[in-house]
Each structure stands twice: as C-alpha cells, then as structure tokens.
C-alpha cells in the first residue's frame, strides 16, 4: 500500500510538473509580455509604461535560457513560485492571488457542495427508480429524458433557466450573488436547479445501467426469494454492490468542488474560483491562470488517488499495491 501510494505520488508530481511546463510554453507561444502588460494597464498606455510594467513584474528576464545566469529565467521562476506556493500577485490588478483564492473558494463551495450533495442522491434515486421499473414505460421515459437532458448544452439550460424561471415565472433572481445568509439561497436556487438538470441526465444513464446489471444478478434473486421487500433489496443489496463505478464517477469530482463551476459561476455572476479562471483567460492574466491550472492539476491527481483508495473501502476484494 505504501509503495503504491509513493509510486502514485511520484507519477502525480511528474504530471503536475509537466502540466506547469506545458502551460508556460503554450501561454508564451501565443502571448507576449507586452500583451499581458497592455491588458493590465490599458490599450492607451504608452510604450514606456508598458516597459516599466514588464520590468516591475519580472517579465523582462529570459524565458527559458539565460547564458549569463542559468537560474535567472522566467521558467525557473514560474516553477519556483508554484512549488513553494508563493503565488504572488495577479497580473491583471495586482491583488495577491492567495487572497483572491480565499475570497473565491467560499462562493464556489456555496454552489458546488449543494450541487454535489443534492445531485448525487437525486441521480441515485432517479436511477434506482427507473432501474426498479425496468422495461416499463417509466424506465423508457426515464431513459429518453436522461438522454435528452444530457444532450442539451449547459448554455441552453442557463439561458432557458434564466428566461423561464427568472423572467417569465419570476421565482428567483436571474443572476447575482450575496454572501448574506438571509438572501444567499435566493441567488443559488436557479444555478443549483440548472446545474442539477444539466448533470442528472448522464448520471442517471450511467447509474441505471449499473443498477440494471446488478438487479439481474443471482444474489438479488436470492434476496427476493428470501422474502426481502423491493425497497430493502434495492437499498441494502443492489446499491452497495453498485458502488465501485459510482465511486469512480463521484469521488474524482470531490476535489473539483474547490475549483468551482466555470460556466455556472460566470453566467450567474457568482464570484467563485471558476469565474476567476475564466476572467484570467480573458485578461491574459498569466500569474492567476497558472495558479488555477496548478491547483486543478494537483486536485486532479488527488482525486485519482482518492478514487483508488475509495475502491478498497467499497470492495474488500480490491487490494492496492
């Protein structure tokens, strides 16, 4: 187990280093420090101000190779900052990035945690229902609705949700956010509803297949033969045995709760980490973008390791090593 964990950590570290390297190369293949500076201090800024900004932000040093001092390059500085978690300040507005992360993680979690906590049981309940009524019209209708739900772009859900719920029915605000507990639910209701609708289709499709496969197994027949009720068989026998694929699907999502939901946050005006990422891309804000990518890579690796560990908990037959 320890060897396995060490091996996974080493591979994970190499993956993260590779991602950081790729990000650096790709970013500076398409953007010059002048562009970053111009976006930060304005299109009208004269060349002198641009040059000063570049010097102030350390983008004037050689990018990859410095014959005079091999340790004084942008690439090494990039790695140093990320590996020591010295995130520095945003290129766009000079705000400390760690402060921005701290400000953004709350709103992100306010959306993603309820989305996860409501979405999982809802998807499990719906898929258990259609699996239970398999080969009836409830099953067929459920599958058709799931396929339709997963085929529609999230943008359509967002725009339709905003128009239908926010404009026509006037149940909730169209967009916005307030951390005040008295009104936060009002703002989160619509993005939650949209997020649930967007995610439930593919989840139900997947879990239904898993449940149907399980319900055809001998132990289920045995349970029914012993006189167990429908609910008990589905909840106590089928559900635990279907946990491995469900865990694979769900545990890997948990770390990404922290990085927020890119489109939902952006369209609903939720100031979370997802919208920080989108803003950094739009603003050529390399300093922020690399932190978000770095954290995303770290969380991805963590999610993979967590998933593997979860297998051992869900299925005693699985041994890591």
């Amino acid at each position: 187990m320890t060897t396995w964990l060490l091996r996974r950590l080493v591979w994970g570290a190499l993956t993260v280093l590779g991602v950081l390297g790729f990000l650096f190369v790709l970013f500076f293949a398409t953007a010059q420090p002048e562009d970053v500076a111009r976006r930060a201090i304005g299109e009208k800024a004269p060349p002198e101000a641009i040059a000063q900004w570049i010097a102030n932000h350390g983008y004037d040093r050689p990018r990859i190779w410095n014959p005079e001092n091999p340790f004084d390059t942008m690439l090494l500085e990039h790695y140093r900052r990320m590996l020591t978690f010295d995130f520095g300040r945003s290129d766009a507005d000079d705000v400390p990035i760690s402060q921005r992360l701290g400000d953004g993680v709350g709103p992100s979690l306010a959306l993603t945690v309820p989305l996860f906590l409501l979405g999982l049981p809802l998807a499990l309940a719906a898929s258990l229902l259609v699996a239970f009524f398999r080969e009836t019209y409830i099953d067929r209708m459920g599958v058709v609705l799931a396929v339709v739900a997963m085929s529609i772009s999230i943008l359509i859900y967002i725009l339709a949700g905003q128009y239908l719920i926010g404009v026509l029915l006037r149940w909730f605000p169209i967009s916005g956010f307030a951390s005040d507990p008295s009104v936060i639910a009002r703002f989160l209701a619509l993005p939650l509803l949209v997020g649930l609708l967007n995610g439930i289709g593919s989840d139900v499709r997947l879990y239904r297949t898993v449940f149907v496969e399980e319900t055809n197994r001998d132990y289920v027949r045995t349970a029914f033969a012993k006189g167990a009720g429908d609910g008990r068989v589905m909840a106590r026998h089928v559900l635990p045995n279907a946990m491995i694929p469900i865990l694979t699907h769900e545990v890997v999502r948990i770390p990404f709760l922290f990085t927020g939901a890119l489109l939902l946050e952006s369209f609903f005006g939720i100031p979370g980490l997802g919208s920080i990422t989108v803003d950094a891309i739009h603003a050529n804000d390399f300093a922020t973008l690399r932190v978000m990518v770095y954290l995303g890579a770290l969380l991805f690796v963590a999610g993979q390791i967590l998933t593997d560990l979860a297998y051992t908990l869900a299925d005693p037959r699985v041994r890591l090593g």
Binding site: R38, P46, D93, V95, W171, P173, S175, A178, I270, D279
Partner: protein, 673 residues
C-alpha cells in the same frame, strides 16, 4: 400523506424558503434613495494615478475629486472649478515655461479612514492640502506606481526628473525603498513644476505651452491623494493594497468593495459640497443652465436645478458579465439604467425611437455621440498601399475609401448606433464642422474604378501579376461576428476588382504583426481622453508613429506639413488660426487617405422614469452626484412587474404524478398477478 404529496409539499416549502422572489436586493432597501447600476468587468485598480478603464473611473471618480470638472450639461464640454475656486489662466513666463496657479477651497475633508492615524494617534480625518495634490502628481512619475500618463504629463517641469531621482535612490541606497512613501518623495526632492506654495495654493509649471494640461486636471490621474493612505494600504498584514481602496474627498465613499460581485458607495457625510451649500460651488450644485434638449429631457427640471448635490444616499453596483441577464433585470426594475444589448435592440428601439412597450413602462431613451472615432487604416510604410507607392498608392487608397458605404455598415451591424465620420474629429470637439463632407467618404463606385484605373490597377488587376491586386486586411479578432463586419468591407473592395484577404488572428498575434510592421490594412478605434482636437489629430503625428517606438499612429502616417501644423495647433488656444490649421490638416488627410474614417460611435442608454437628472456625458467623468431617484415610484413598479407566477409549479407536480402513478399501479397489478 402519499409520497407524491410529500414531494409537492417539499418543493413548495423549498420555494417558500427561498422567498420565491426575483428581487436581488434586500426588501428593506426598496424605499431607499439608492442608484442601482451594473458593471461588466471588475475594476482593475482604484489607484487614481493608474486607473484608465471606464469602470475604474466610474467607481473612483465619485470618491476622489479633481481640481477641475466638466459642466454637466453644456456642450461643447466646458471646464468648471472642482476642488479649486476658479479655473486658472495660463501665465506664460519669460523663460518660455507656462505657470498655472490653482487656489484650493479650504475646509475640504478627506473621508474618515484609519490610515490617518499615521499622522497622529486617534486621527481619523484631515483637511485637504495643496501638498496632497502635489503628492498625487508626483506619484505619476514614481516608477513603482507605473502610471500610464507619465509621458503626456512629463511636460510638467521636473516631473520626469523626480521619477528618475527616486528610482536612482531606490536602486542605490539600501533600505531606501522601505522608508515611508512621503519620506522617499521628500528625499528625492521636489519637481520644479509642482509647487505647493501654501496649504491652499498649488503652482503647476509646464516646460512648454501646453493648454491641454487643464483637461488633465479634470481627470482622476491628478486627483489629490493622502500620503497616509498610500503608506498604510501596502497589502501587508491583512491590509489591502492601495489599488483596492479609495480615500478621497468626494461626495461618496467606498463602503463595500467585493469587486467580483458588488461595489457599494455611500454618501460621504463630510463632503464639502454638502457641508457648505452656501458656497454655491458649480461642482456641488445642480446646473441651472444647459442645452435646449435638456428642457425636453427633464434634466433642467426646476425640482433639481440649483439644488445642492448629491441627491442619492447610496450607489449599488453589481457585476453582470453577461448583457442579457443585466438587461432583463433592468426591465424588471432592478437596475435604473442600462445599455441595450444587440439581442434586445429591436425590443427596445423602433425606428430610432423608444419602442411603445418600453415607453408604456415609463422608460426613456438617451442618445449621445461619444467623442471617439473608428477607422480603417493603411500602413503607410507598406510598399503597395503606403506612401512608398507614391501617387499610385494614394489613388488606390482614395479608390478604396470611395467604395466603403459606412451608413449601410452602421445599419447592418450597429443598429445605426453611430454617425458617419468625415474626419478624425467627432462632434462636440473644437474643429468639428457639421457642414464638411469628405469627397472620398461618399460611396461612388464609378469614381473609385476610375481612380483605380488611374493608379494602374484597371479593374483591380495588378499589372505585374495580371491578377486582382492582393491586399491583406489584418485583424486581431477571430469571432464570427467580427468576421462578418470585415467581410462587409472586403466585399465592397471586391466590387472594384481588388482581392482583399482577411488575416484574422488572435489579438496577441495581431499586436505582434503591428510591432513588426507586417500589416497593410487594419481597423481601429479611439475614444478621447479629453475633448480637444489634439487628442485626435495626434493619432497621425509622425513622432508617435507605431514604427517609431510603438506609438498610437498605427498608420505610420508621416507628412512634414501635417506635422508642422500639428506642432503649432496642439499648443494653441481655440482661436480662428487653430480652426484654419485644423481645416488644412483635414484637407491633407482627405487627399492622402491614411485612414478611411468610418463612424463616431453613438451610445444608447435606457433609463427608467424614476431616475432623474440623467444626461449622457460621453466622457468617463463623474455624473452620479447629479442623479436622483424616486424610490417610492420604483418600489411600486417593481412590485407590479415582478409578481411570481406559481401555478406552473403545481402543474409540474400534477404532471409528474400523472405520468408516474399509472405505471406504478400497472406494475403492482402485474406483480400481484
């Protein structure tokens, strides 16, 4: 209770818990005098010496004040005293420099702030001094501040030298950078052209005549800043950086700055204008004079005219990155004014006027031409379309100019939001001539073909290749929408037989091409910093050519006569001679055609009937102190417009039950069988 009933109840309770309301604000705020507005991207900085975007200025120019301001209603734009008693006159000096003496108002206070404790224990506030204005101006030269306006303001004697001395000390003297900022500036020595001669007197000296300097004193860059705030807000120890706070003397103060969602400005109870209405200061009193249209618009309403400002208690700004939700909230009454997204344009505007539906809701449409210009530019250093091609290149440019029908372009792509440009100078700026018609800006394909033939490109054919002349149109926008716009121009030139190829890259690559001079034709725009023709005609001054250090003259236009005229014109006051010079420069541009002038953009704003004192300004200057709201009328309308429709919820529950129950019943029957 059945499971279906329980589900319906849970949903109902859920909706009830959420209040089932689309009101994004606390209900208690409904009757307050709050101005609600949206912004589309977070401010980059609130440092007045650095901020250069409209949203930055929207926030900080209501908190920081300037020595001068613009008259709210009079056009052309007219400077009025802000923090000073009078607009100063230029005083030419024997040595060729020009002095401006500003007399500051006494008794002006900065808003309360903990940073003032640096000046003494328990101090939370102090009076504005001339040295605060000087400090703000010196910050422009501080390399660590990196102000984007140092170059034009380097005409102030000794300002650039101050920055150089400061940097030298920081580089050479260990520990200098950790000194308090006021001490650093003191050690670097004064700038000779920035002198606080008394607590209420400031003398500014320009090295050369530069009448536009006064406009800079109406921009936030020259706002007074307390040194205490700069020293205190250093981004350390949990304190925000100076770019994230604002400590000014203005009518509002910053009370909440979650810039990624919400910004709140509250009325500053210590504002000098509110404490001293008896002064009748022009910048603290609603104007009693304006333009004829102000009478019809209601912006000279006797209920407002002559009253002490401001009328609002609070300004609520909410981030709305997407235009459609922002506009929908405006129509629900949750924003007091809005721009019109193109998707909703037909809903709001019919035949250039407000649609009957919007009018029935008591809204108003406000239109204002922005002091800006959009144009197609030729790279004058290009061997085919530029000056090197001599008469042939000029005739080609003239022909291409004659092919572009901008009126049609505006109709198709911008819902007619703009007026065709005849020269770089827009309406409202000295030198704009309403009667002037550029002979190369009225579409005339026959004449264009004749000019092309005269250039040696008969039918658009390049005699060297015997194929249509190939020209590259470089853009930094790859979106489909922009592509359609560029194709409109390309189609126009195709009618002359020219083969114009669109080279659309991302913006960074486009900038790189511009840097390398690898472009022939481009589209660009410019919006004025200040309302002076110099701020437009400098875009074609050879000293600011793109090829000469990356200046804003992207066309790389260089004409000795134009340069000489510009050189003289830029330093003159608005007299007849200046008008003649501008006319001559305009004629040169008309003939040489480094630009194909397209349009001056026109802003359309929708305003609710309960918002009073709203006049479009064009320039990014503070206007919110002139706004007033009828909060009762707004609350009434909001309630009427936003009653939730609940029946679809019950219908949804009934539908779900109706779909599921037969299946369950059948399944149970089959199981029993």
């Amino acid at each position: 209770m059945s499971r279906q009933q329980a589900f319906a109840l849970a949903l109902g309770l859920g909706l009830a818990a959420f209040g089932c309301s689309n009101n994004p604000y606390p209900d208690a705020d409904d009757t307050l005098r709050v101005f609600y507005t949206a912004y589309s991207e977070p401010p980059k900085t609130l440092d007045p010496q650095v901020a250069y975007s409209t949203v930055d200025h929207d926030v900080l120019s209501n908190i920081y004040e300037t020595l001068l301001e613009y008259h709210y209603l009079k056009r052309p734009y007219q400077l009025i005293p802000g923090l000073v008693v009078d607009v100063p006159e230029a005083e030419p000096q024997p040595d060729g420099t020009v002095a401006y003496r500003f007399q500051l108002r006494r008794g002006v206070l900065f808003a309360e702030d903990p940073s003032f404790s640096l000046g003494g224990e328990g101090v939370v506030q102090r009076e504005l001094l001339a040295s605060d204005v000087a400090f703000g101006i010196l910050r422009i030269a501080d390399p660590a501040v990196n102000s984007p306006v140092l170059v034009p303001l380097s005409k102030i004697a000794g300002l650039a030298a101050f920055g150089e001395r400061l940097q030298k000390l920081r580089d050479e003297e260990p520990g200098f950078s950790s000194l308090r900022i006021d001490e650093q500036y003191r050690r670097a020595g004064p700038a000779t052209g920035v002198r606080a001669t008394n607590p209420d007197r400031l003398e500014i000296v320009t090295q050369v005549p530069y009448p536009q300097i006064l406009y800079w004193f109406a921009m936030p860059f020259t706002s007074p800043v307390p040194w205490e705030a700069v020293a205190w807000y250093d981004g350390e120890g949990g304190r925000p950086g100076f770019s994230e706070i604002a400590v000014g003397t203005g009518p509002f103060r910053l009370t909440r700055y979650d810039k990624r969602s919400r910004i709140v400005l509250d009325r500053n109870p210590d504002w000098w204008g509110a404490r001293h209405p008896e002064w009748g200061a022009p910048s603290a009193t609603y104007p009693t004079e304006g333009m004829p249209e102000d009478v019809a618009r209601g912006t000279l309403d006797p209920a407002l005219a002559g009253r002490a400002l401001p009328f609002l208690d609070r300004i609520e700004m909410r981030l709305e990155k997407e235009t459609i939700p922002a506009f929908a909230k405006f129509t629900q009454g949750y924003y007091d004014r809005s721009t019109i997204p193109k998707e909703s344009f037909d809903q709001a505007v019919r035949n250039g006027a407000l649609s009957p539906e919007m009018e029935a809701r008591g809204m108003r449409l406000e239109r204002a031409v922005r002091p800006g210009v959009f144009y197609l530019g030729f790279n004058m250093e290009d061997p085919v379309v530029g000056a090197a091609a001599g008469d042939r290149g000029r005739l080609l440019r003239q022909a291409m100019s004659l092919a572009v029908d901008v009126q049609e372009f505006l109709r198709i792509f911008l819902n007619d939001r703009g007026i065709p440009a005849q020269s770089p100078i827009p309406p409202g700026i000295f030198g704009y001539d309403e009667e002037y018609r550029n002979p190369f800006r009225t579409p005339d394909l026959a004449r264009a073909r004749a000019l092309l033939a005269e250039a040696g490109y008969a039918g658009g054919i390049d005699p060297e290749t015997r194929r249509p002349l190939r020209i590259t149109f470089d853009t930094g926008d790859t979106s489909v929408q922009s592509r359609l716009r560029y194709l409109y121009f390309i189609d126009a030139w195709k009618r002359l037989g020219l083969d114009v190829e669109l080279a659309a890259t991302n913006y960074n690559q486009f900038r790189d091409k511009v840097r390398r001079g690898a472009y022939q034709l481009f589209m660009w725009g410019w919006v004025a910093d200040y309302p002076d023709p110099e701020n437009f005609l400098f875009l074609l001054w050879s000293e600011l050519a793109q090829s000469n250090g990356g200046g804003p003259n992207t066309a790389n236009f260089a004409d000795p006569r134009y340069d000489a005229l510009f050189h003289d014109m830029k330093d003159r006051g608005n007299d007849d001679r200046r008008l003649e010079q501008i006319a001559e420069m305009r004629a040169l541009l008309e003939h040489e055609r480094p630009w194909i002038e397209l349009f001056h953009p026109e802003d359309y704003a929708l305003v609710h009937g309960w918002l009073q004192g709203f006049a479009p300004m064009g320039l990014p200057v503070p206007t919110w102190k002139y706004h007033a709201v009828d909060a009762e009328a707004r609350a009434e309308r909001r309630t009427a417009w936003n009653r939730p429709v609940r029946w679809p919820l019950a219908a949804g529950v009934v539908l779900a039950v109706a779909l599921l129950v037969p299946g369950i019943v059948t399944w149970r029957r089959e199981r029993r069988a």
